[in-house]
């Protein structure tokens, strides 16, 4: 006999994140490391458990291995449960048809049975692309109060940026009357955050109908939401204010990392009441050598710094040798930077070795672009790599 869950979360984690190039050549975007000790997916997962949602289906497709292992049984997020917890949902072979997930809506459609098992009243749809802290239980309250079929979280964005987002036009009572994907001339600044709560029956009806429509792209933004609006369903916009960052590009990923740096950082992870959980390996504390110089940076467990680090984010187990200099950079786990190497305005993916006296990137200024070094690269001694480069193999 199964119990029931009021709300089940479905986390779309199958995206490639192609605009992160080298950083997502081996891992899906939600598995990209962030902020020293996290991966992007830690944010929606931690938000779920902190919001009291303990049943999360994680839909994987592109390069799922790292992600599968990382999520495991959901233990780090307290999502290891008898009933509920974290479940990884890859596309599967069916008796009659075997399909990859064709679109966001199709991914959910293929897992309706999974959702149904918990007999939820509501389904929360999340994506694994964003860095933010949000109490989904408040959004669910709002959804219930308004008796909505669908509630979409929206964020006020500057008018000049609005054309990059899906924009909601909203009545005074918060109900949505128009939705435009990336409008050239936006008439509202309320951007969809890609977070939806559906009443279960409505979701199931629309997904089933959508699946029968051969012309559909099976996408929430392109098909489901417009279709629901067209049919006059009660759609509500839930206004979120707070830090929210799409880390879909190299520059936005760099910026979001830097938002954690500084005493009064834009984004604060030290809130004990809203912890961000992550799967961590057992590593010793960080060590700063006698001649180390660390300014305006964040470091985590396993780091060893004997050189100079400024305005940077260092992942776990990063070694910066004597005489090496790291400035304005995001260094992911287990990177070794050898003596005399200089790293400026770079993102370096995990397990890469930067040889002695190598010079990577260019001093950050308005013209310079971020240089990206992929994972497990060996950068030979004395190598010089300019700005705005993307290196996956040397």
């Amino acid at each position: 006999m199964f119990r029931k869950k009021e709300c089940v979360a479905m986390l779309l984690a199958g995206g490639q994140g192609s605009r992160l190039y080298a950083l997502t050549s081996k891992v899906a975007k939600p598995a990209v490391q962030f902020g020293g000790k996290y991966r992007i997916i830690d944010f929606p997962l931690s938000n779920c458990i902190n919001s009291g949602i303990d049943t999360v289906g994680v839909l994987t497709q592109y390069q799922p291995l790292v992600l599968n292992e990382y999520i495991g049984n959901g233990l780090p997020w307290d999502l290891d449960r008898y009933f509920g917890g974290a479940s990884i949902l890859p596309p599967y072979q069916g008796k009659e048809r075997s399909d990859w997930y064709k679109g966001t809506a199709n991914a959910i459609y293929q897992n309706l049975e999974f959702i149904d098992k918990f007999d939820p009243d509501y389904v929360l749809i999340l994506s694994g692309d964003h860095i933010y802290k949000m109490d989904y239980s408040k959004m669910l309250e709002y959804h219930k109060e308004n008796n909505a079929a669908c509630t979409i979280a929206v964020l006020d964005v500057p008018l000049e940026e609005a054309s990059r987002f899906g924009i909601m036009s909203v009545n005074e009572d918060g109900s949505i009357y128009k939705f435009t994907e990336k409008p050239k001339e936006p008439d509202s600044t309320k951007a969809s955050m890609g977070i939806y709560i559906f009443s279960k029956d409505k979701l199931f009806d629309y997904l089933r109908a959508d699946n029968k429509n051969p012309d559909s792209c099976n996408d929430f933004g392109k098909n489901i939401i417009p279709e629901m609006l067209k049919n006059g369903e009660r759609m509500m916009a839930y206004e979120f204010s707070g830090y929210w960052k799409d880390v879909g590009t190299i520059s936005s990923l760099w910026e979001a990392n830097m938002d954690l740096v500084g005493k009064n950082a834009t984004f604060d992870l030290s809130d004990e009441g809203w912890r961000i959980y992550s799967r961590t390996e057992s590593r010793p504390p960080q060590f700063l050598g006698a001649e180390a110089k660390v300014d305006n940076s964040i470091l985590t467990e396993g780091c060893e710094v004997y050189g100079e680090v400024k305005n940077s984010v260092l992942g776990s187990g990063v070694k910066v040798a004597k005489g090496a200099v790291v400035v304005d950079s995001v260094i992911m786990s287990d990177v070794e930077i050898e003596e005399g190497a200089v790293v400026n305005y770079c993102i370096i993916d995990s397990y890469t070795k930067v040889g002695k006296n190598a010079k990577l990137g260019k001093v950050k200024d308005e013209a310079a672009g971020v240089t990206v070094i992929g994972e497990k690269c060996i950068v030979p001694e004395g190598t010089v790599i300019g700005d705005n480069e993307m290196i996956t193999e040397i």
Partner: protein, 377 residues
């Protein structure tokens, strides 16, 4: 071959009473993010032991909080895993001459039920205050092959005047059998093989010894068991050659902690492949170093915010160091808050201590200034 581990969590509490007033020796914080028991526990888990009994006596709330269900050591199991063994006896029986060691034997008699229900072939006994990373499988293998009743892990240590009477010295013969056991001798300055209080014994042998101890009213493991067996040439020594330290006083806690600033010590404790030291995960954010922070030769946990100067020090999780403050040779435990323009030298702050702006506090290496849990200065 199956093995069960037993860890004694309260031995030597009195040695470092400043820190064990409200916690067990096992839960004394050590090395930025660990508790002493993490070393004994990790040693067992890394050696394939997945059933560990933790013998407690009193004050063990902090220990229970730390261990939880054993998840962080992968010891949350249906079968085996962590077993907390609360007391059946009173600690520090007033009739016993050698109180510390009597506790161990009495404790084991008290948990007879647990031991009798075990089906494992061997039992590894370990104290909770041993700071080392040892492969116990090797000790067990040697024990199995030797046919000895008991194997004791020894370590050659340089003992000073301060160590007098605090160790059991075990000399061994050419074949590795314990030949002489010295308890509480004072004339021990120099290098001596001391007992690490890690023992391997066959479960059935241990059960027999415990029955005998109960029947004869034996109190001391060292005097009534180890010494007697050694005389019969039934005790083998296993000499451990890795890093080993113990905590026998507050000054010892201070100096042992400071040894962690030596990269060789860290390599011997934390740098051994496939043998990580595991501890309770706290999910602190990474540590922030602000503009103008100066941190040299220091070991820092996650969750700190450092705006001042930190030299030759050890900072636990969630420590805040304000602007203009200089911290030298200090050990600041979890969530210590140091205001602005303070000067601290040779200070140990227990958890949640608040040092207000402008304070000047200093101890000496031989007598560090200890500030108790939750104090405001």
């Amino acid at each position: 071959m199956t093995v069960v581990g037993l860890i004694f969590s309260n031995v030597y509490d009195r040695n470092i009473s400043e820190m064990t007033r409200k916690r067990t020796m096992a839960s004394v914080p050590f090395g930025c993010r660990y508790r002493l028991i993490d070393f004994a526990l990790s040693n067992m888990v890394n050696s394939g032991i997945d059933k560990v009994g933790i013998v407690t006596h009193y004050n063990y709330q902090s220990l229970l909080d730390h261990i939880g269900n054993g998840k962080d050591w992968d010891l949350a199991r249906r079968s085996g895993g962590i077993k907390i063994l609360p007391p059946f006896i009173t600690a520090y029986d007033s009739n016993v001459a050698n109180k510390l060691y009597s506790t161990r034997l009495e404790a084991m008699i008290g948990i007879n039920n647990f031991i009798n229900r075990c089906t494992e072939d061997y039992v590894v006994l370990s104290d909770c205050d041993i700071i080392c990373n040892i492969n116990l499988s090797k000790v067990i293998k040697q024990h199995e092959e030797s046919g000895a009743d008991l194997t004791v892990v020894t370590k050659k240590m340089f003992l000073t005047d301060d160590d007098a009477g605090k160790h059991t010295i075990i000399e061994s013969d050419d074949e590795g059998y314990a030949s002489n056991v010295y308890v509480s001798t004072s004339n021990t300055i120099g290098i001596n093989p001391i007992s690490t209080n890690i023992y391997v014994i066959k479960r059935t042998t241990l059960q027999g010894l415990l029955l005998e101890a109960l029947a004869h009213g034996y109190k001391s493991f060292t005097l009534d068991v180890l010494t007697v067996l050694a005389k019969k040439r039934l005790v083998k020594c296993y000499e451990f050659d890795g890093y080993y330290a113990y905590v026998h006083s507050l000054a010892g806690y201070f100096s042992t902690s400071m040894q962690l600033l030596d990269p060789n010590v860290r390599a011997g404790l934390f740098g051994i492949k496939h043998r990580p030291v595991m501890t309770k995960v706290r999910n602190s954010a990474p540590t922030k170093y602000t503009d103008g922070a100066v941190v040299n030769n220091s070991l820092i946990a996650d969750g700190c915010v450092i705006e001042g100067e930190v030299i030759d020090s050890i900072l636990f999780r969630g420590v805040k160091v304000g602007k203009g403050t200089v911290i030298k040779n200090c050990i600041l435990l979890q969530d210590t808050y140091i205001g602005e323009n303070c000067n601290l030298n040779c200070v140990i702050t227990d958890k949640n201590v608040v040092i207000k702006d402008g304070r000047n506090l200093s101890g000496h290496e031989s007598m560090p200034f200890f500030i108790e849990k939750g104090a405001r200065v």
